[in-house]
């Protein structure tokens, strides 16, 4: 395996951050080194300096950066993925937004899971919402799950998941919100009823403009597959789709601040979150 020096690791992480908005801290040196080694082997490059130069200055279409992105990110989706981020949502952001709404006499809550894939994220949010806010049943709460792939949306509607999808669901939640059915789990009707599917292409400018009035938007580990311009355009649409005081969540290593300066950065314990002022 070609040895990526610490300096090269830092240079490459900086490039990945600038181009993909993904942050790799020092702890990730081995992880990144092993992925870079795979790309270098595939390209027949022996010197890490050559590889870093290529992704930095000789990759005008961003193809190699995208190939690296595919290796350093995971397509796997499962319930309660990126638990720490969900804790920030459950413990801080959601109570804050709900209190503000109660003070204004509002009883609606809108959450958008953008690029929801097979639905593990919107159902996770449904479980958290019911847990943190039992009154959700008497409010007009709606979680809109959108994806470009209609096959995925059919899976969301089926609300039926294998063991890999529910592995990280805390036992208490599993008993309360899922029903075991053979070697699968089905989301209980009360949680499933909160989730509504919608076919949506995030690149469709006019369709995106119609998405308004959300209190939370989750679009985790989706935008890393977009080029810079598209990512910026989508995040701008998210900004317009949010109510003032609403929050946006990208993947925990993705940076909103790099894409747009429009959001306000807030810190809850160890979590950085982005809020529309």
């Amino acid at each position: 395996m070609p040895d990526l020096s610490v300096e090269q690791f830092q240079t490459l992480s900086q490039q990945i951050y600038q181009k993909l908005g993904l942050h790799f801290d020092d702890k990730k040196i081995y992880f990144l080194k092993t992925r870079v080694a795979r790309r270098m082997a595939a390209l027949g490059i022996e010197d890490p300096r050559e590889y870093i130069f290529m992704v930095s200055y000789a990759d005008p279409q961003g193809l190699e950066m995208q190939a690296l992105a595919n290796l350093v990110t995971t397509n796997e989706t499962y319930m309660f993925r990126e638990y720490d981020q969900l804790q920030a949502f459950a413990n801080h952001c959601l109570p804050e937004v709900l209190s503000a709404k109660q003070a204004r006499g509002e009883r609606t809550l809108r959450i958008w899971s953008a690029g929801c894939s097979s639905g593990e994220e919107p159902y996770t949010l449904a479980m958290i919402l019911q847990e943190v806010f039992p009154q959700a049943q008497s409010w007009d709460c709606r979680i809109t799950a959108t994806d470009i792939d209609e096959n995925m949306l059919r899976k969301v509607v089926a609300a039926r998941y294998g063991c890999r999808s529910v592995n990280e669901v805390p036992d208490r939640y599993r008993e309360k919100y899922l029903i075991e059915d053979g070697d699968e789990y089905v989301v209980r009707r009360r949680s499933a009823a909160l989730v509504h599917t919608l076919h949506l292409n995030l690149h469709d400018r006019m369709a995106m403009r119609a998405m308004r009035g959300f209190d939370f938007i989750f679009c985790r580990n989706v935008l890393i597959y977009f080029d810079d311009d598209s990512r910026k355009a989508v995040v701008d649409h998210f900004y317009n789709a949010l109510n003032p005081g609403g929050y946006i969540f990208l993947g925990h290593s993705e940076s909103v601040g790099r894409v747009t300066t429009a959001f306000q950065l807030k810190r809850f314990e160890n979590h950085l979150v982005y809020r529309k002022e």
Partner: protein, 350 residues
């Protein structure tokens, strides 16, 4: 009413989203006549989201008007506006070059520096005249930025010019930038020249030593190894990572580099055990791979497999594998039974 007129009027809407959409629509219309309205709006717009959308529109409008407008914005007092304008012009690349040439000729030192910021990462083809002018600029910041850009781009056609600047330069930051640029360009003949300019590492100030160590990492020979190693106990912790990086690179390239093992082991042990940043400790343990033929080094690496710091354990697993002494597999397998970190397990078993 034409679409453009409609969108221009909507730029003044009270609703922030409508203004954003209007700016976006003008961009997609790719109408140069929309540029003055966008720039006017920019002057009074308070929403960052709308300002972002206006700049995106300027990127989309493929016309000189967008370039000229963005060049005027380079003189803004607001650094955010200047940064956005730099980004727009960088995206215009080739088309903006004649306009950037004019700024380089007529602009003040801040504008000349911004021209080079725009060109950062843009291949030097077609902008040679700008770089020629920048390398002879009277403002050191302009020269330094040009040198940095050329190094990043490995623009070897400017190597001779940068070597001249290194020889003659007295501005410390410029000298350091020249060394780093030459390292980036990667011509081994530059090393001799850098060496002659700085014959004695021990007396180099820290900022120059950091640049010099990059040259050592790329070109240093077996004979240089001990000279670099001797810096470890003498220089502050802020240079440790650069020194360790150079040592690792020299030894990986020149296996014959003979180390004063006792002194080096002591210095590296101190780094591993004295709470240096985890990445430095990782580097120190990785260097020990080259000395692992010595029993005390090997024993220390084995002990590192139980370190509470995961990067130390990772480095120890990698170093022991690289050393490849007999009886290693059972040792690593036994350690793997106690390890819980996935990546360390991977390093132990690969």
């Amino acid at each position: 009413m034409s679409s453009l007129q409609e969108y221009v009027e909507k730029l003044a809407c009270a609703d922030e989203a409508e203004r954003t959409f209007a700016a976006e629509d003008i961009g997609y219309l790719n109408a140069p006549e929309g540029v003055p309205a966008l720039l006017r709006r920019l002057g009074e717009e308070e929403s960052r989201a709308v300002r972002d959308a206006i700049f995106q529109a300027l990127i989309r409008i493929d016309a000189n008007a967008a370039i000229e407008g963005s060049i005027r914005l380079l003189a803004s007092d607001d650094p955010r506006i200047r940064n956005h304008a730099v980004n727009v012009l960088r995206r215009k690349a080739v088309r903006a070059i004649p306009f950037l040439n004019a700024v380089m000729r007529d602009g003040d030192k801040d504008l000349r520096k911004l021209v080079l910021d725009i060109l950062r990462g843009v291949p030097a083809g077609g902008v040679e005249a700008i770089y020629e002018a920048a390398l002879g600029d009277k403002d050191p910041n302009v020269v330094i930025t040009a040198v940095e850009n050329l190094g990043l781009l490995r623009a070897r056609e400017f190597r001779g010019r940068i070597e001249e600047l290194l020889q003659a330069g007295s501005h410390p930051m410029q000298v350091a930038a020249c060394v780093e640029a030459l390292v980036g360009m990667g011509d081994p003949s530059s090393f001799g020249m850098i060496r002659r300019r700085f014959p004695n590492l021990a007396v180099l100030p820290d900022f120059l030593l950091a640049a010099f160590l990059k040259a050592m990492a790329v070109w240093g020979t077996a004979e240089d190894f001990n000279e670099v190693a001797a810096l470890l106990p003498l220089r502050g912790p802020h240079l440790r990572s650069a020194i360790l990086g150079a040592l690792f690179a020299i030894r990986a390239r020149c296996p014959s580099a003979a180390a004063n093992t006792g002194a080096l082991l002591a210095a590296l042990r101190r780094i591993v055990e004295d709470g240096d940043p985890p990445l430095c400790r990782y580097q120190a343990v990785r260097i020990l791979a080259f000395l692992a033929a010595e029993d005390d080094v090997y024993a220390f690496l084995v002990a590192c497999l139980s370190s509470p710091e995961r990067l130390v354990r990772l480095a120890a697993a990698e170093s022991l594998r690289a050393a490849g002494r007999p009886g290693l597999e059972p040792l690593l397998a036994a350690r793997a039974n106690e390890e819980t970190d996935e990546e360390v397990l991977q390093a132990l078993s690969c």
